[in-house]
Symmetry: C2
Subunit: 224 residues, 2 copies
DNA sequence: GATAGTTTCATACAACTGTTTGAATTGCAA
DNA sequence: TTGCAATTCAAACAGTTGTATGAAACTATC
């Protein structure tokens, strides 16, 4: 209890440095200098560098997952145990996008850290992400309730594509800004969420009805 | 000219090791051991470790871009200078997906290397990827011809989402397999391309017609 | 076959990494 | 105040990293 100051100073300094410069070139010595604590304090309080990184990521990650499940629960209660598909998807991608994008994505350390964690894939973070599957299954279950009859495979792909658009927008937000010469407004988080959800809903309900012939007539044309 | 053997032995060994174990924990000493050449040979032939990685990535990357542009050209010629939107998207995501996925994605070194390069984001590779914007503009131009009238912002988002689904499928192919318990067939590349293209086309043509109100009625509901 | 240029090689370098150690200091309870 | 545990600290450790060096081996040209 007494040395919480050191512990949290390390956590704050590490998150800030990792957010700014990436995991690749931030050393423990950089962190302890920023936090004004002794080098050995990291191993004393966290055991190892990797465990420090893991704790940073787990904290933010759990918060996001909690938010997701809260929104899902709210949506299901509102719908009498059966949330509409767009609300489910909104609960899935909303918290992540709000957490990482938005006008203060340059200002919020947490946001920049999560973006960094999404771009660079360092072992301790990868380990944690691999446990995310169980969490996602809850959304698959909700989607199954929202769209009975729909082939599971389509649900998996729908969820996968929703996460794809969400994560890729976070990862490549700078490149999209550059490509579009600023025309795509990455500060309009609500608009982005709307877009991602709308496309995901179309992916789940639109054209591709059969599991075996996912693309229909349209996509059968074209090169090769 | 005489010592091409050493040069290409290094390239082959490096690609194989990076593909298998990632950029993080493969050292120059690992590479020269695998290639049975002297340690100094890397710096002699490539200048530095980063330049070796860059050369590996540039080679594969240029090949993919060439394929993309070829398919785009073919599609435009077939359509008399105006390729249909789905063919354009197919030219965009097809080569990448075919290059990284497919039944032999465990067998092909090049495929595994490109997957690795897509997951880990190491400085020399990031630098190259940042130059990709010019290449993408050609596809934006083609899309503009295919869908006159359509707001540029929608085109940017459409292209962005197409790349999102394509890259995320490559990056997370193992997780999707795990989540879906094998029900999503990552070996069926053509089926995946069809799905990605179909959803991208819907994103570009479906519901979201106005630039200002991208999500339409449907997405306006839901949590928050 | 001597020469000049290229390529290979063993070795050293210099810097940096996360982690450990054991002593000093602090804070709190008796 | 004494005693004990928790915390901090400076220092060193042990290992690894990419790169540089200068001599040796090779290759092709004249």
């Amino acid at each position: 209890m007494s040395s919480d100051r050191t512990r949290s100073a390390i956590l704050a300094a590490a998150e800030r440095l990792y957010a700014d410069r990436g995991f690749g070139d931030v050393t423990l010595r950089d962190i302890v200098a920023e936090a004004s604590v002794n080098l050995a304090a990291v191993n004393y309080h966290f055991g190892s560098k990797d465990e420090l990184i893991a704790e940073l990521f787990v904290t933010r990650s759990l918060a996001t997952n909690r938010e997701r499940l809260n929104e899902l629960k709210t949506a299901e209660e509102t719908g009498g145990g059966r949330a509409p598909i767009d609300a489910i998807l909104r609960a899935l991608v909303g918290p992540t996008l709000r957490g990482c994008l938005g006008p203060d994505r340059e200002g919020s350390t947490a946001a920049r850290f999560m973006i960094r964690a999404s771009i660079e894939s360092v072992p301790p973070i990868r380990r944690i992400k691999n446990r995310e599957v169980d969490h996602l299954r809850k959304f698959i279950a909700a989607m199954r309730r929202a769209m009975p009859g729909r082939d599971d495979v389509d649900l998996y792909w729908g969820l996968h594509f929703a996460l794809a658009m969400s994560h890729h927008t976070i990862r490549e937000n700078e490149r999209l800004t550059k490509l579009s010469e600023g025309k795509c407004d990455l500060d309009d988080v609500q608009g982005i969420i709307d877009r991602v959800v709308a496309v995901s809903v179309m992916a789940l309900t639109g054209g591709a009805t059969q599991a075996r012939k996912p693309a229909g007539r349209l996509a059968a044309r074209g090169a090769r």
